[in-house]
C-alpha cells in the first residue's frame, strides 16, 4: 500500500511537473521548448501504460542525467572562459554545450591518465581478491578474471590506451602533413609518387594490414605506434595536400616564389598558417579512428600486451561475463565510446568554425 502511494505520488508529480513546465514554456512563447515538453507528456501517457512506473522513472533519470551533463558542460565552459585569455575566451563563447561537454570529458580522461598512479587505489597488475569478485567497499567495480581491481585498471587504461593512440595519431600527422605539404609545393613527379604510395596504403584494409604487420614484426609498443601511424598517414596526406593545394595557387605564394624563397619557408610561413584549422579538426577525427583501431587490436590480442591495462583487452578478458548478464565488460567499452563521442563533439564545433558556416 505504501509502495503504491509513493509510486502513485511519483506518477502524479511526474505529469504535474511536465504539464506545468509546458505551460510555462507556452506562456513565455518558447515554441521549441513547449513542443518538446508537451510531446514528452503525450509520449509519457503511452509509456506509462505500456511500461508502468519503472519506465517513467527511467525517463526521469535519463532527463536528470541529461540536465546534469548540460549543467556540468555549461559550468565548465564558463570556467574555461574565465581562466583563458580574451582571444580564446571569445572563441569559447561560440562553443555549443555539446562541445564543452566533450572538452569536459577529455579533460577528465586527461586527469585520470596523467595522475593514474595516485588516483588508482590499487596497482595495475595487482591481484587483490578472487576472480570475478563482485563490487565491495574495497573495489568500486569489482574484480576481473584474475582478481584485479577493475576500477584501477580502468584508470591505468586511460593512460595506456589514450596515450598510445595519441602518440600514433601525432606520428601519423607529422608524416602525413609533411608529405602533403611537400607534395603541394613541389608538385610534379614528387606529388605523383607520394599520391600513389598513399593510394596503395589506403587500398589495403587497415585492420588486416595492421594484423599482418604486427605478426611479422612482433607486438611491442613501438611497432604498434609506427604501424598504426603508417596506416592513417595517407588520410592526413590527402587532406593536407588538398588544403595546401588551394593555398599554393594564391598570389602571395607566387610572390614568395619569385622572391626566391625556399620550400621550407613557403611551408612554414606561408602555407601552414593558412591550413591549420582543417588540420586540427582532422586531428580530432583521426584520433578517434586510431583509438578504435588500437582498441580493436588489443581486443584481438595483438595490441598492448597483458598485464598492462588497456580498455580494448579488458573487454576481451571479461567477455565471458556477458553470458551471465553481467555489465562489467561493457564498462571499458563505454569508456571508449564516451571518449570517441566527446572528441567528435569538439571536432564538430571546430569543423563548423573552420568551414565558415557561421549562423547569425
Amino acid at each position: 500500500m505504501a509502495n503504491f502511494l509513493t509510486s502513485g505520488g511519483f506518477v502524479v508529480g511526474y505529469y504535474a511537473a511536465l504539464i506545468a513546465a509546458s505551460c510555462i514554456a507556452a506562456y513565455y512563447n518558447n515554441r521549441k521548448a513547449f513542443m518538446l515538453l508537451f510531446s514528452l507528456t503525450l509520449v509519457s501517457f503511452v509509456l506509462g501504460i505500456v511500461g508502468g512506473v519503472p519506465a517513467l522513472r527511467g525517463v526521469t533519470i535519463f532527463a536528470g542525467l541529461l540536465a546534469l551533463a548540460a549543467g556540468t558542460s555549461y559550468a565548465f565552459k564558463e570556467f574555461l572562459i574565465q581562466i583563458s585569455s580574451p582571444g580564446i575566451a571569445k572563441e569559447l563563447r561560440t562553443a555549443p554545450l555539446t562541445a564543452s561537454f566533450g572538452m569536459f570529458i577529455i579533460f577528465t580522461y586527461a586527469i585520470a591518465g596523467i595522475f593514474a598512479p595516485w588516483i588508482a587505489p590499487h596497482g595495475e597488475a595487482q591481484v587483490i581478491s578472487d576472480a570475478f569478485a563482485p563490487a565491495d567497499e574495497n573495489m568500486l567495480l569489482g574484480a576481473d578474471q584474475l582478481g584485479r581491481d577493475i576500477f584501477s585498471r580502468m584508470v591505468f587504461g586511460a593512460r595506456n590506451s589514450v596515450g598510445l593512440a595519441l602518440l600514433a595519431t601525432l606520428l601519423a600527422f607529422f608524416m602525413g602533413a609533411f608529405a602533403g605539404l611537400m607534395a603541394a609545393v613541389k608538385g610534379g613527379w614528387f606529388d605523383q609518387i607520394m599520391g600513389r604510395v598513399a593510394d596503395i596504403i589506403m587500398s589495403v584494409p587497415s585492420l588486416i594490414f595492421a594484423l599482418l604487420m604486427l605478426s611479422i614484426f612482433g607486438t611491442n609498443l613501438a611497432v604498434i605506434v609506427v604501424v598504426v601511424a603508417v596506416i592513417y598517414s595517407p588520410r592526413v596526406f590527402r587532406l593536407t595536400r588538398a588544403v595546401a593545394g588551394n593555398v599554393v595557387v594564391m598570389d602571395y605564394i607566387e610572390a614568395a616564389k619569385l622572391r626566391g624563397e625556399g620550400d621550407w619557408y613557403l611551408i612554414r610561413k606561408e602555407i601552414l598558417p593558412n591550413s591549420t584549422a582543417p588540420l586540427i579538426a582532422e586531428f580530432g577525427l583521426e584520433f578517434c579512428f586510431v583509438f578504435l583501431l588500437v582498441a580493436g587490436l588489443s581486443f584481438l590480442g595483438l595490441g598492448i600486451q597483458p598485464p598492462t591495462a588497456d580498455w580494448g583487452s579488458m573487454v576481451r578478458e571479461n567477455a565471458t561475463l556477458i553470458s551471465f548478464g553481467d555489465m562489467t565488460p561493457l564498462i571499458p567499452a563505454a569508456a571508449i565510446a564516451l571518449l570517441t563521442v566527446s572528441v567528435n563533439f569538439v571536432v564538430d564545433w571546430m569543423l563548423f568554425r573552420s568551414s565558415g558556416l557561421k549562423e547569425m
Binding site: 598570389d251 607566387e254 610572390a255 619569385l258 626566391g260 610561413k269
Partner: protein, 554 residues
C-alpha cells in the same frame, strides 16, 4: 519633375535602416542609415557610390531580402502596395524571380555549371506555373534573339562554361526577364567584362528594359556606365544618400562636394615622358617571345617591346590577349618557347628558379587582387620586412626602420599599421601594402597587373598618384597591364596594344591616342564609356546595331 507620375510608383523605400553584424565587436552596427528611394514603373535608377556605400545592400533590400549578417532594423519597403518588411518569408519568396529579378555581377559564378543555360532559364516560369516548359523554352529563344546572342535557337542548350563571359551575362539578363518581372536589380553586371564586351551587354540591357517597360535598379561604381543606363541617379556614401537627380541634371550640375569629387576622378593626368636619347639600354627588353602553356596553343606570338628606365609602358588588350602571360614570361614563371628577355642588355635565364637573387630582386610584381596577394595570416611588418631581410640582410632595428620608412613612403602610418593583419585593412590600403612589398626589394622595374581594376575610382586615383610619385622619386620603370584606357590616358608614356597574343600596335601615348589607329585600337578606344548620356546611342548608330562588340571582328 520628370516623365514619371506619382501614380506609377512601383517601389517605395522610406527611411530604410539596415544593420550589419560585426564579428570583431560582437554587436550590430548600422550600415544603411535611413535611405529613401522611389522608383516608378519603367524607370531605371542608377545607384552609385564606393564599395561599402551600401549599394548592393539596398539592392537586396528592394527584394525584401537581408543578406547574411545583416538585418533590416527600421523603415518600410513597399513594392506595388505590398509591405515587404512585414510580409511573410513565403510571400516574399513568391515575388522573387516572378516579379522582382536579380542580375549578379559575375554570371559565371551565378549559373550552376552542372545544368544547361535554358534549363536554368525555364526554372522560374515553370515553378510559378506561368508557362509550360516548352513554351518557356520558346520564349527563352526569343529573348536570346532580342538580346542579340549568336544562334538563339541553340545557345541555350549549352552549359555555362561553353559560352563567353559577355554572352553569359546577357543570358542571365534574359533569365531575369523570363517571368517579365516589374523590377530587375542589376548588381554591377558589366564590371567584370572587357570594354568591348561591356558595350554589347549594356546595349542589350537597355533595349530589353525599354521594350518591356521594366523598372530597374542599376548598381555600379562606374559613372560613365550609369550615365548610359539610368533615368535618375542616386549617389550614396557610407550608407547615406548624398543626392538624387535626373541623369542629365546630375551630370551637368552636381550639387554636393562628394559628387563633384567623383565626377572629377578621371581628371588626373601626368606629363608624358619620352625615351632617353643618350643610348641608355632599356631596363627590360622583350624580344620576339613566343610562349604556350603545356601542350596548348601559342598564347604569345612574336611579342617584342622595350621598357626604358623611369618610364611607364601600358600594355592594353581584352582578357585573353596575352597581357598577363607576357608578365609571366618576364618574371620567369612561364619560360618562353622562343625569344628572350633582356635586363639592361643581359639576357635573363628563362626560368625564375635559375635566376640569381639579384636578378629576381630587379623585377617585382604588384597584383590585381590585393586579397590574394597578401597572406592573411602574416603581419604587415613581416610582409614588407621579409623582402628587405631576404635581399639586403637587414635585421633588428635596421629592419624595423626600413619597414617604417616604406610605410611612410606609401602614406600609411607606421604606428597604426605595423602590427596589423591584411584582413583588417581596406582594399586601397592592402594595395598600398602590395606596393610597399615590391618597393622593399629596391627594384628598378615593377610589373603592375591591373592594380586599380578592383578598386573604387577615388581609391584607384590615390594609388595611381602614389605610383607616379614613387616613379619620380625612385626612378622606377613600370609595365602597366590594364584594360582600362582611362588609366592608360592618365599615367602611361608608351602604349602596347595586344590582341590574340600579338602586339598589334605600339608607340608613345600621344601618337596612340590620335588617329589614324589600327582598327583594333580604334575599337578599344571607342568602346570606353564616356560621361555623355547619349554616347551609347551615338556609338550604336555609328557601328550599326548588329555590329557591336565581338560581332565587330577586325
Amino acid at each position: 519633375m520628370n516623365k514619371f507620375t506619382d501614380k506609377d510608383i512601383l517601389l517605395e523605400i522610406r527611411d530604410l535602416k539596415i544593420d550589419g553584424y560585426s564579428h570583431a565587436e560582437e554587436t550590430w552596427i548600422p550600415i544603411i542609415k535611413g535611405v529613401n528611394l522611389t522608383l516608378h514603373r519603367g524607370e531605371v535608377m542608377g545607384l552609385i557610390g564606393e564599395s561599402g556605400a551600401g549599394k548592393s545592400t539596398i539592392g537586396a533590400a528592394a527584394m525584401g531580402y537581408a543578406r547574411d549578417g545583416t538585418r533590416i532594423s527600421d523603415g518600410s519597403i513597399e513594392f506595388d502596395g505590398m509591405e515587404l518588411t512585414t510580409a511573410s518569408e513565403s510571400d516574399r519568396r513568391a515575388l522573387r524571380g516572378s516579379r522582382i529579378a536579380y542580375v549578379a555581377q559575375s554570371a559565371a559564378a551565378s549559373f550552376n555549371p552542372a545544368h544547361k543555360i535554358i534549363d536554368q532559364h525555364t526554372e522560374a516560369p515553370v515553378h510559378y506555373r506561368i508557362q509550360k516548359r516548352l513554351e518557356a523554352q520558346e520564349d527563352a529563344m526569343q529573348l536570346y534573339e532580342r538580346l542579340r546572342l549568336p544562334n538563339p535557337q541553340e545557345i541555350g542548350f549549352r552549359y555555362p562554361h561553353q559560352v563567353s563571359g559577355g554572352q553569359l551575362q546577357r543570358a542571365m539578363t534574359a533569365m531575369a526577364m523570363a517571368c517579365r518581372p516589374d523590377l530587375i536589380i542589376f548588381d554591377e553586371p558589366t564590371t567584370a567584362l572587357d570594354v568591348t564586351t561591356q558595350i554589347e551587354v549594356l546595349a542589350a540591357i537597355r533595349d530589353i528594359v525599354d521594350q518591356f517597360n521594366t523598372a530597374a535598379i542599376y548598381i555600379t561604381h562606374d559613372l560613365a556606365v550609369v550615365a548610359q543606363m539610368a533615368d535618375t541617379i542616386k549617389v550614396l556614401l557610407k550608407g547615406e544618400e548624398v543626392e538624387e537627380a535626373p541623369t542629365e541634371m546630375m551630370l551637368d550640375n552636381p550639387q554636393e562636394e562628394y559628387t563633384k569629387s567623383l565626377w572629377a576622378v578621371r581628371s588626373f593626368k601626368r606629363p608624358q615622358k619620352a625615351r632617353p636619347k643618350d643610348g641608355t639600354l632599356p631596363v627590360i627588353s622583350v624580344q620576339n617571345v613566343d610562349a604556350a602553356y603545356t601542350g596548348g596553343v601559342k598564347v604569345l606570338d612574336d611579342v617584342s617591346f622595350d621598357i626604358y628606365p623611369g618610364m611607364t609602358v601600358a600594355v592594353v588588350g581584352e582578357s585573353g590577349s596575352g597581357k598577363s602571360t607576357t608578365a609571366r614570361v618576364i618574371t620567369g614563371l612561364l619560360p618562353p618557347s622562343k625569344g628572350q628577355v633582356l635586363f639592361k642588355g643581359d639576357p635573363l635565364p628563362a626560368r625564375y628558379q635559375d635566376r640569381t637573387r639579384d636578378q629576381l630582386r630587379q623585377a617585382q610584381m604588384i597584383y590585381q587582387m590585393a586579397d590574394t596577394a597578401l597572406n592573411p595570416k602574416v603581419r604587415i611588418n613581416e610582409i614588407i620586412g621579409r623582402p628587405a631581410q631576404f635581399y639586403s640582410g637587414l635585421k633588428g632595428q635596421a629592419l624595423k626602420q626600413r619597414v617604417d620608412e616604406l610605410l611612410d613612403l606609401i602614406e600609411l602610418d607606421p604606428v597604426k599599421f605595423y602590427n596589423r593583419y591584411p584582413p583588417e585593412l581596406s582594399g586601397g590600403q592592402k594595395q598600398r601594402i602590395g606596393i610597399a612589398r615590391a618597393l622593399a626589394a629596391e627594384p628598378e622595374f615593377i610589373i603592375c597587373d591591373e592594380v586599380t581594376s578592383a578598386l573604387d575610382q577615388l581609391v584607384a586615383e590615390g594609388i595611381l598618384k602614389l605610383l607616379d610619385r614613387l616613379q619620380q622619386e625612385l626612378g622606377l620603370a613600370y609595365m602597366f597591364i590594364t584594360h582600362d584606357l582611362a588609366t592608360v590616358r592618365s599615367i602611361a608614356d608608351e602604349v602596347v596594344v595586344m590582341q590574340h597574343g600579338k602586339v598589334v600596335e605600339q608607340g608613345p601615348k600621344d601618337e596612340m591616342f590620335t588617329p589614324p589607329h589600327h582598327p583594333y585600337t580604334d575599337l578599344l578606344l571607342s568602346s570606353v564609356p564616356e560621361m555623355d548620356p547619349n554616347w551609347l546611342t551615338t556609338l550604336l548608330e555609328e557601328r550599326g546595331v548588329d555590329n557591336v562588340g565581338e560581332a565587330a571582328d577586325v
